[in-house]
């Protein structure tokens, strides 16, 4: 018997970690109501479980003030007929959204504007920790991938954390697929799918969401080599300057903390280093963060 390398993949068995956006601020104004959305997503999950007996699906909900695990098909107590499973998922989602709203209301007194972005970085980190656990469990394991069902706009405060998750996923060779159910494109998820080799899709008609999900995101990673999946039109890798948050194509970068500025400044606002183009004088690193 040949010794198994540390990551021995079975060809077409997959582990899909789906991140559901449950931001109530977004769903209140969305063209597709949340219950309709669940009517597309839950049959899609059942489809994944039916494609192969060993497939596993994990659901993580992305809220505005918390993230949590909703469903794990690999759990002993999640087996049973699909009706029981569906109602279990819906009940857990309701509990989660209720708890999340309470936390948001509790902290909303201090924040100046209501949170309109959801905590994508939190659920990506949870997904990656779960997948690491699967990798630890022996040589034979399903091929993991992450599917983000995102509707809320990107929160710029999560940029560093989302990029960290993307680079970790790239290292572990885990593709991040994205399906945007909101109105505008998400730059974070475009970059995520491009860097990790996943698929980015913004369906034109949300009534047929199940059709899009089943055609594009249901196939396992091995079979994707034989399919023509949607290619992203153009990924914008330009940076945004720290002072005005507008995208620039030429700028100045602080050599100490790598902050990006659009104009020449005398002093870096992030790390406090003073710039002088002449001889290397002593700089006082007074980092405020």
């Amino acid at each position: 018997m040949a010794s198994a390398p540390s990551k021995l993949y079975q060809d077409d068995v997959s582990l899909v970690v789906a991140l559901l956006d449950t931001n109530p601020f977004f769903w209140a104004g969305a063209s597709l109501p949340f219950s309709e959305f669940l009517h597309h997503v839950i049959p899609f999950i059942n489809t994944l479980l039916l494609l192969n007996q060993l497939n596993r699906v994990v659901l993580i909900a992305t809220g505005t003030s918390s993230c949590g695990y909703i469903f794990d098909s690999g759990d002993g107590n999640s087996s049973g007929n699909s009706n029981a499973v569906c109602s279990g998922i819906i009940k857990k989602l309701e509990d989660f959204v209720g708890k999340d709203s309470k936390i948001t209301k509790g902290s909303n007194g201090d924040s100046t504007r209501p949170a309109i972005s959801s905590l994508l970085s939190g659920s990506l980190s949870l997904a990656l920790c779960y997948i690491q656990r699967i990798f630890r469990c022996g040589a034979r394991h399903p091929q993991p991938r992450i599917l983000c069902l995102q509707g809320s706009p990107d929160g710029p405060e999560q940029y560093v954390a989302v990029m960290n998750s993307i680079f970790s996923a790239q290292r572990l060779m885990i593709p991040i697929d994205s399906c945007i159910v909101g109105a505008q494109h998400s730059a974070f998820l475009q970059q995520a799918s491009y860097i990790t080799g996943g698929v980015y899709l913004k369906p034109q008609q949300l009534d047929g969401l199940f059709q899009f999900l089943a055609a594009v995101f249901a196939t396992d990673l091995h079979s994707r080599n034989f399919l023509r999946l949607p290619k992203p039109a153009g990924v914008d890798f330009r940076a945004s300057c720290f002072c005005h948050k507008k995208t620039i194509d030429m700028g100045y970068v602080c050599s100490v903390c790598l902050s990006i500025f659009c104009k020449y400044h005398k002093k870096c606002s992030t790390c406090g280093s003073e710039f002088n183009q002449a001889a290397p004088d002593s700089t006082i690193p007074d980092q405020k963060h």
């Binding site: 918390s66 949870l126 560093v160 990029m163 050599s255 790598l258």
Partner: protein
């Protein structure tokens, strides 16, 4: 038939040779002469030292597994993490790190490098590990540059120019490398000093010497060269393969680098990879400058243009320099026409985690404080903490900021690879930027 005949021969040969060795009184480096002295076969000798079956144990379902070294690995990792965060200042304060590094790797190709105590030879092991190191280095420091220098025949020779792409360096390493002569530390340092004086003032200058020799043959006073390097603010580190040498230790102490000696191949790999993350920077060593950089957009598919790096027509893909509008094939690079440094925002983002590290987690005893109800599953991976069937509950750690509990595997993964605490990221008010 042929096989059977061959099988009988070695035992006869070794029996006679071991007797001969005993008669000659020679002490070889193989231990088969000591234990089970008379006439052991080759396959028996392989098991004399490593009893590989002792590394296995049964788990609860009767399957064989390697011995559970999890707690040992975790203890080692915690030691490393606390050492790293304590040498640079407290974990709470942001330590300045040299993110734009210009590193020269000096490879020793003297006669000592052809020794075979590392299989197949020290030089081959060094070349192989240096390739892995270069890839890891560019992964963690995308804006940095690496060059290669060799020490051979008492002279130092530049193998590759300092460059920002790993491919050129790796190609040179994989080429034919021969060892002969003596190693000269002074010549190597003088050469590197000359090259590093030409780099921009905001870059951090570093030298990493992979030394196999136990001596250095220099044309002049090597102490003077050490002082020159110290004045030029070059941080020199050495990894030795044989034993500790005083001049290397002196060099590293004077210039603020680290000196380590490898015990075996896997230890060498570990020591080498420790140089990949940026070292804590001494503030006066590099000036803070605002560097002008361009962020090119990816060209549309189907557009034909001549790329400036290969000088041939290419279809689609590629990036357009924002200043002079020529096409370049990959990033990060310097535009050949106008000299602008071209990067994409993920390259800068790769270094942000060095600036905003995750605080080390606190260890929590398995039973917690009296009266404290601990969660039964890890927050990150949902693995249960309680042992199965009366086994010890596993170790857990908790984040000092969000107070969530994690298992030790998640702890290692979060600090070494992910650089995000899932608990802190799942809360609204703990944003960094």
């Amino acid at each position: 038939m042929y096989g059977a005949r061959v099988a009988f021969q070695p035992s006869a040969a070794t029996a006679s040779s071991s007797k001969e060795k005993k008669r000659r009184g020679e002490d070889d480096d193989d231990e088969e002469d000591d234990n089970e002295g008379k006439g052991t076969e080759a396959w028996e000798r392989a098991y004399a030292d490593e009893r590989s079956w002792e590394d296995l144990q049964e788990d609860e379902s009767g399957l064989l597994r390697p011995i559970d070294t999890k707690t040992l690995v975790h203890a080692q990792y915690r030691k490393r993490l606390l050492l790293r965060s304590s040498t640079g200042g407290s974990a709470a304060s942001r330590i300045q790190k040299g993110l734009i590094r210009y590193l020269y790797i000096v490879i020793d190709l003297s006669r000592a490098a052809s020794e075979t105590d590392y299989r197949p030879s020290r030089m081959a092991v060094v070349a192989r590990q240096a390739e892995a190191f270069i890839r890891e280095f560019f992964d963690q420091n995308p804006l940095s540059h690496v060059g290669l220098v060799t020490m051979k025949d008492g002279l130092a020779h530049r193998l590759t120019e300092i460059g920002g792409s790993p491919e050129a360096q790796i190609k040179a390493l994989m080429g034919k490398l021969e060892c002969c002569g003596e190693a000269s530390l002074q010549n190597a340092l003088e050469l590197v000093h000359g090259y590093l004086s030409q780099i921009p003032s905001y870059g951090h200058r570093e030298v990493l010497i992979l030394s196999s020799a136990l001596n250095t043959c220099d044309p002049g006073d090597v102490m003077e060269t050490v002082q020159r390097c110290k004045k030029a603010k070059i941080r020199c580190s050495v990894i030795g393969l044989s034993a500790e040498v005083f001049i290397c230790k002196h060099l590293c102490e004077e210039t603020g680098g680290t000196y380590t000696v490898a015990l075996n191949e896997s230890h060498f790999k570990e020591l080498l990879l420790e140089h990949a993350p940026p070292p804590p920077a001494i503030a006066e060593y590099a000036a803070a400058n605002l560097i002008k950089m361009g962020f090119p957009q990816r060209g549309a598919e189907g557009v034909v243009s001549i790329c400036s790096c290969h000088k041939e027509a290419k279809v689609g893909g590629g990036y357009t320099c924002p200043r002079c509008k020529v096409r370049v094939c990959e990033l990060p690079t310097e535009c050949r026409t106008c000299g602008l440094t071209l990067v994409s925002s993920p390259h800068l983002a790769r270094s942000y985690h060095h600036l905003f590290p995750v605080a080390p987690f606190d260890e929590v005893s398995p039973h917690g404080r009296p009266g404290q109800r601990l969660p039964t599953t890890c927050f990150g991976c949902q693995q249960s903490f309680v042992g199965q069937g009366g086994a010890q509950p596993s170790l857990r750690t908790s984040c000092p900021k969000c107070n969530q509990f994690f298992c030790i595997d998640c702890d290692i993964y979060i600090h070494e690879s992910l650089h995000n605490c899932p608990g802190c990221e799942s809360q609204r008010n703990s944003s960094v930027l």
